[in-house]
């Protein structure tokens, strides 16, 4: 197998990159793929906590790059899925500890062992972002339907193109359909019109995401969560499947569930 390296980035902080990486990692592993999630947010690591693997860190990305350990020693196998691994960031260093070339070398070392290498980019446009972008075969940008996030996403698109990567794809996170219907939130169509890149996923704003992070169990494992289903659908699209976008409106979901319930009784 030769891995596809996908960098998940955004520009804006707090839009859901880490949550997306954790959930896409789980979803792809649930589809039977061998996946490693790499946290490049050195100094502010969070992928470990979102995946619930914070207690298993012995070595990290910087240890590997500096030769203090072998790559295998730093890779943490997921608690639930045997084909999912985490390479955590260092917490006591900063982004200057690693170079873009280091990241390319690291990913090349891992290419034969995985189907997907998912890179969790830090926010911003500085060294950390450049490190995360360098090895990418493919870039996914996460944004939310808010002015600042979309503006920053636009800048990132420009930087991705300048780095001569293929056109990135977009995930819109934290969608609130009722706000969109009231005219109080940018719609998916608005955002696509403005950013002019292909959409690969839409994820609703959901309490389950906070709850799942509290527990350290990514929401992709939850069968009753719309957000979980959204992430699993994105994984299927990454695999090349043509999956229609979920209807996020709660009322129709409620009606469907009611009809289903009545049919069962």
């Amino acid at each position: 197998m030769s891995a596809q390296v996908i960098t998940i980035t955004s520009g804006k902080g707090g839009v859901g990159k880490t949550t997306t990486v954790a959930n896409l990692g789980c979803s792809l592993a649930l589809l039977g793929r061998r996946v490693v999630c790499v946290d490049t947010d050195i100094g502010l690591r969070n992928l470990d906590v979102v995946m619930g693997l914070e207690n298993r860190i012995v070595y990290d990305l910087v240890d590997v790059v500096e030769g203090h350990c072998r790559l295998r020693q730093a890779l943490i196998k997921d608690k639930r899925l045997s084909e999912l691994y985490l390479l955590p960031a260092a917490q006591t260093r900063d982004k200057t500890a690693v170079s873009a070339e280091d990241m390319v070398t690291l990913c090349n070392q891992m290419r034969n062992d995985f189907d997907y290498i998912l890179i969790d980019s830090p926010a911003g446009i500085e060294q950390g972002f450049r490190n995360a972008l360098a090895p990418a075969d493919r870039v996914i940008i996460v944004t939310t339907p808010e002015v600042s996030a979309v503006r920053d996403a636009d800048r990132i698109i420009g930087l991705t193109e300048a780095a001569e990567k293929d056109p990135p794809q977009l995930i819109i996170n934290r969608i609130r359909p009722q706000m969109i219907d009231r005219g109080d939130m940018l719609s998916t169509a608005d955002i696509i019109e403005i950013l002019a890149i292909d959409l690969i996923g839409i994820v609703p704003d959901a309490e389950e995401i906070i709850i799942s992070t509290n527990r350290g169990v990514p929401v992709a494992f939850e069968n009753n969560s719309l957000a979980g289903a959204a992430f699993r659908n994105i994984a299927r699209r990454i695999e090349g499947e043509d999956v229609p976008f979920l209807e996020l409106r709660d009322s129709s979901g409620l009606l469907k569930r009611l009809v289903k319930f009545l049919k069962q009784t």
Binding site: V147, V150, I194
Partner: protein, 91 residues
């Protein structure tokens, strides 16, 4: 704005529409990556070049970047020669 005012007056754009319009405008400037100072230098140079061929009303020159990624130069010309601008034919 109460319902009656809304009925009588112009429709208010929703905040979502405002966000969209503001974003489009902000991105036009972001994408061109031109600071206001650079835009001023561009303006001065444009005026200098056009002035070599035509009389330009410098105070009235407007250079803007508009939607659709267009640089729009609005350059009023001073009437050529000593005569003032001819009046359009009276109908």
């Amino acid at each position: 704005m109460n319902f009656l005012q809304k009925l009588m007056g112009r429709p208010q754009p929703s905040s979502g529409q405002m966000a969209k319009e503001r974003l489009k405008l902000v991105l036009v400037h972001d994408r061109v990556k031109m600071s206001p100072q650079m835009l001023q230098i561009l303006k001065d140079e444009l005026i200098a070049v056009i002035s070599r061929h035509l009389d330009v009303d410098q105070a009235g020159v407007q250079i803007t970047i508009s939607e659709g990624n267009r640089l729009v130069a609005d350059i009023p010309l001073r009437p050529q020669g000593s005569r003032s601008a001819r009046q359009p034919a009276q109908k």
